[in-house]
Symmetry: C2
Subunit: 178 residues, 2 copies
């Protein structure tokens, strides 16, 4: 089952686009990797640090790190400087964890937003990714992935919205959306 | 946290398209729903019944049903009649489970293929979905989702391949792809 040589590459994976399923797919990787006893962790840039959604409860139960570290910023932040400050703080944590050698897979959930808003320079992010331990997979989710990140990544899927129930007035569903 | 009225609708969700992340997103829902103690199960149409991937190991550990029931058909089936027979057999199981009232969420992984190949009539599948318990969410994954299914579904995301490492000759990675 062990892959060898070229095939044992750490990948940079980006789930982007307007459609549903980006964070959800990253959670699927987390689940799958945990099943293989891989060292997986997830850091969430936007999700409010008090969030206690299905995925947080599940992660706690199985002892996997899934840390919401944002302030729930949803384009309605009361104080954008606070939101930005939290993102920069979390980025420092990310850099440390990326370099640590303590992970097989790291998920940077909604990391595209601080890049998109220019709070973190894309070039700096790429430099950190470039110099990461060579077998570390990094998964980045969120809309508006910058082109330079797409060019750099190994796997990029755009989640394209064909149809969304919000448009019919159906609210987010527990277990499905959160 | 409980949703009420209209918002407490069972959704039909389709993850389709050529890109990576369809089954993975369904696994993310499974994980999230388990965290909420919801009754979730997954039936896999193509995945070989002997498969023991990361997700199968993880599901076994947490006691969630994730049943691969196919013969690993990947457009290279030795005997298409066997593959088709397995799909029809699994469809009978699906119908029973859908009607049972024993689930909050059912995942029919790669169910689009038997539809696409005409082994199961789309109209029959829609009839089963239409008459399901009204709060049951059903998630269907796979390429080539038939248009009638897309029209019927509440949420449809197309996973669009922007970039895939297979094209660079990098093999599927444990924990990431399986």
């Amino acid at each position: 089952m062990e892959a060898t040589g070229r095939s044992r590459a750490g990948l940079v994976i980006v789930y982007t686009g307007e459609g549903a399923g980006k964070t959800t797919a990253a959670l699927g990787v987390l689940f799958r990797a945990w099943g293989r006893d891989m060292r997986v962790g997830a850091l969430q840039f936007i999700k409010h640090s008090m969030a206690n959604n299905g995925e947080h409860r599940a992660a706690r139960r199985i002892g996997v790190e899934l840390k919401p570290m944002g302030d729930g910023f949803t384009w309605r932040s009361r104080d954008i400087e606070v939101t930005k400050g939290l993102a920069l703080q979390l980025w420092e944590v990310c850099k440390e964890k990326i370099r640590s050698g303590n992970y097989d897979i790291l998920i940077l959930d909604e990391f595209t937003y601080p890049l998109h808003y220019g709070w973190i320079a894309v070039e700096e992010a790429l430099e950190v990714l470039r110099s990461r331990p060579k077998e570390l997979h990094v998964i980045i989710t969120g809309r508006y992935a910058p082109q330079d990140l797409i060019d750099f990544a190994d796997l990029v899927t755009e989640m394209r919205e064909i149809k969304h129930p919000y448009r019919k007035g159906i609210k987010a569903q527990p277990g499905i959306n959160f």
